[in-house]
């Protein structure tokens, strides 16, 4: 049972480069989320998706793009990376149709923008 995976686990990139973080879940959960975790801010929602081809902005969407063409994948793209996007990024999924509601998180991607 693979659950939810993220790749890469660690990434160093330069300012201005495009970076894509991958997220894959094997449960066919309807909802998927991207968060960033920074000291003093807890988890902040970047984007979320209620189903394939349905995405919406969260609290801090600027500079990020998402897509969800398949239920199991939810990639996050930084179009032109900035130092302020240095963070740990978590992907999560949840299933609301069966009344679960709790989220299951991936292991995270530590991104450093130099």
């Amino acid at each position: 049972d693979a659950g939810i995976t993220q790749s890469p686990r660690y990434k160093i990139t330069e300012t201005g480069r495009q970076v894509t973080l991958m997220c894959h879940q094997t449960w066919s959960h309807s909802y998927m989320f991207w968060y960033r975790q920074d000291l003093g801010h807890g988890l902040r929602l970047i984007y979320y998706s209620a189903a394939a081809d349905i995405t919406d902005k969260g609290e801090v969407p600027d500079g990020y793009v998402v897509s969800r063409s398949k239920t199991e994948n939810f990639p996050l793209t930084l179009e032109s990376a900035t130092r302020s996007q240095t963070s740990v990024y978590f992907c999560a999924s949840s299933e609301v149709r069966t009344g679960g509601y709790e989220q299951y998180f991936g292991p995270g991607t530590r991104l450093t923008v130099t």
Binding site: Y31, F33, Y35, G40, H41, G42, L43, R44, L45, Y48, A50, D56, G58, F90, A92, S94, V96, G99, Y101, E102, Q103, Y104, F105, G106, P107, G108
Partner: protein
């Protein structure tokens, strides 16, 4: 505005003593409340939730939480702390006003259990 607050950045407790990690919320309607735990260099793990029903909710690893509607609180508790409980704990609430199943997280409370 929908919000959740964890008023303590850190809680220290001696091993074997009871522990409480506090969470208060502000949402419209009936809240969906959650606790998660994060160990170093790991993703968050679900501990327990309150959606409806009994105010005392039991979860993983011996943790429980009490939903108190009048005080708008959902404090996490454990009768006897273990050193292995040391971690970062997050409270979360569903963003009811959005009409979706997205959530608002608190800033986290670091629990240190001292041997």
């Amino acid at each position: 505005a929908q919000s959740v607050a964890q008023p303590e950045d850190q809680v220290n407790v001696a091993e074997g003593n009871p522990l409480t990690v506090k969470c208060t919320y502000s949402v419209s309607g009936n809240p969906y409340l959650f606790w998660y735990v994060q160990y170093p260099n790991r993703g968050l793990q679900f501990l327990l939730k309150y959606i409806t029903g009994d105010n005392l909710v039991k979860g993983s690893y011996g943790f429980e939480a009490e939903f108190n509607k009048s005080q708008t609180s959902f404090h996490l508790k454990k009768p006897s702390a273990l050193v292995s409980d040391s971690a970062l704990y997050f409270c979360a609430v569903r963003d009811q006003a959005s009409g979706t199943y997205k959530y608002i997280f608190g800033t986290g409370t670091r629990l240190k259990v001292l041997a």
